[in-house]
Symmetry: C2
Subunit: 330 residues, 2 copies
């Protein structure tokens, strides 16, 4: 197995990803220098992924890299910020060779180019355990404009981007816990699990429009639950309005119980947000200009409960009870 | 084994570490909001530590936490910056229980209080592998004032803080590869390996004084080599001037070959820097006001080599040849 030293690995594969950021010093310094542009806050997020837990060890390295960046950029988008830069910490197991690292760095390079950002620092170490990746992403937003999970108001509409449940079904397919005849549906769903797309363009346009936002990583109902809890509001969601892909529809037609994965499965990295009803038209325009599918799925209501709740309703207005409201990585 | 959910773990043990930072939202948001104070750059560094590689799995959790923060703050100090905040990503193996996490968080709390900083975000995940910790630290420095490894000039003096080689001998003792009769020396050296102290107060006073700086993590000669290479200068170091502790002296008296670990061992997290000779008095004053031991160990010279080099000289001016110039974690 060919494996360069840590220093050579950084110089050969990662330093080229830093060339657009002067303050990265070509990854040759103790730390990077960076600042948000004038009048802007920095938005900072960290996400960690472990082989066998958050991705499969034999997934293509470029997709692992793309997912690692996407899950972080999704958090930046949920804050309403524009992505700017990132640092990377990697613990490599002994069976990762130069070829793997090269493909990983290439995937990272493509993903960062898509987002218009640069690597500005990091650390690479050896581990006797599984490949462990930790990425810290930086965004910028006008001071005070960052969105939070609190802020949803009585009467607001609730929206989601994209389609929900794709990734959870993709993982099931990937693990062989579900089978699907149609190759296209299978590829689509597994692709959505392997390489989510952060809603960066749409997210950064949400400040001044949305009242609260979150990205859907732990499952739609669990993540909406965070908005409910931190806003002190109930959310009423129309199950029939939750957007699902044709591929998920195919699966659900065969086994309706799979809808639980639409409500509770994670890893879609779509955005969920609330907004006053007078913003509806502006949101449609925004969806159009950023070519982002957006759907209204419910509304925000004053809560009469001690613990605000998310109510999922069927077409007759009856509550749907879900056993497992969220997906937890633990 | 008692183990709370990821959400409860964060709320119970880590959210209290974020209360001094408004932009951390009590660790309840997708990302944190932070900015360097007006007229300042952000300085950003990431360091990763793996159980069995960078610390021993049975080391006390509070010391592991303290070391994790210290190695990052050492990078911030080497840039001449003031530490401000940090994010943490942790991959917990199954045998880490709540009691361990509580002790780890307590150690982190004590370490951050000592540095006057706050946790502002992070991620905790499960791993089938060893405990893996990744910390990203943020500092602040007046715009353009950050130190780098380049910048050493012909005629500058070379200095180090503290004593060198303690941690490398401490690790050898801890691993049972070295024995030492005197309990105090043993405790001191192992303590230096387990819990380095970042030279934060001294480092942040170095801009305008030092011409180049680095923290000694990979070994004195290896890290001085980075200054030589990036400054395009040779460094001449007087071996007899390298400050060593009484405990290292005791070991070296028994086995002079252990001096190789002073020259090449890592993990001391002291600062090495160059400065024009007219700054000598200012540096002594600074050492005094920050109670930081500082010693001049050599000088910077124009290099006549294609690859600038670090020359280690004995008391007669003869070059000392070291087989293994640096410690690499790989």
């Amino acid at each position: 197995m060919v494996r360069a030293s840590e220093f050579e690995t950084i110089q050969r594969y990662f330093a080229p990803l830093s060339t657009n950021a002067a303050g990265a010093f070509g990854l040759s310094n103790d730390a990077a220098v960076w600042q948000p542009q004038k009048g802007h806050d920095a938005v900072i997020t960290t996400d960690c992924m472990v082989a066998g837990v958050h991705f499969l060890a034999d997934d293509p390295p470029s997709l692992i890299a793309g997912k690692l960046l996407a899950v972080n950029l999704s958090d930046i988008a949920a804050m309403g910020a524009r992505p700017s830069a990132y640092t990377l910490a990697v613990a490599w197991p002994a069976d990762i060779d130069d070829k793997w690292i090269e493909a990983f760095a290439k995937g990272l390079g493509e993903a960062q180019m898509g987002a218009g950002i640069s690597l500005i620092g990091g650390d690479t170490v050896a581990t006797p355990g599984p490949l462990t990746l930790s990425l810290t992403a930086f965004g910028e937003i006008p001071i005070g404009a960052a969105l939070s999970r609190g802020g949803a108001q009585d009467g607001d509409d609730v929206y989601v981007t994209g389609t929900i449940g794709d990734a959870a079904l993709g993982l099931k397919l990937r693990l062989g816990e579900l089978s699907l005849d149609h190759g296209h549906d299978r590829d689509f769903l597994i692709g959505r699990y392997r390489l989510p797309q952060a809603r960066s363009d749409f997210g950064r346009a949400l400040p001044g429009v949305a009242s609260a936002a979150i990205d859907i990583s732990d499952g739609l109902l669990a993540d909406l639950g965070h908005i409910a809890e931190q806003s002190g509001m109930d959310l009423e969601i129309q199950a029939a309005d939750i957007p699902i892909s044709a591929s998920v529809q195919t699966c659900v037609d065969v086994d309706p119980a799979l809808m639980a994965l639409v409500f509770g499965g994670g890893d879609d990295y779509e955005l969920a947000f609330s907004a006053p009803s007078e913003k509806a038209e502006q949101i449609l325009t925004l969806a159009d200009t950023t070519t982002t599918p957006v759907r209204r799925i419910g509304r925000v209501l004053n809560s009469s409960n001690v613990t605000p709740e998310v109510r999922l309703l069927d077409e007759t207005g009856k509550a749907i009870v879900i056993d497992r409201p969220g997906f937890r990585h633990f």
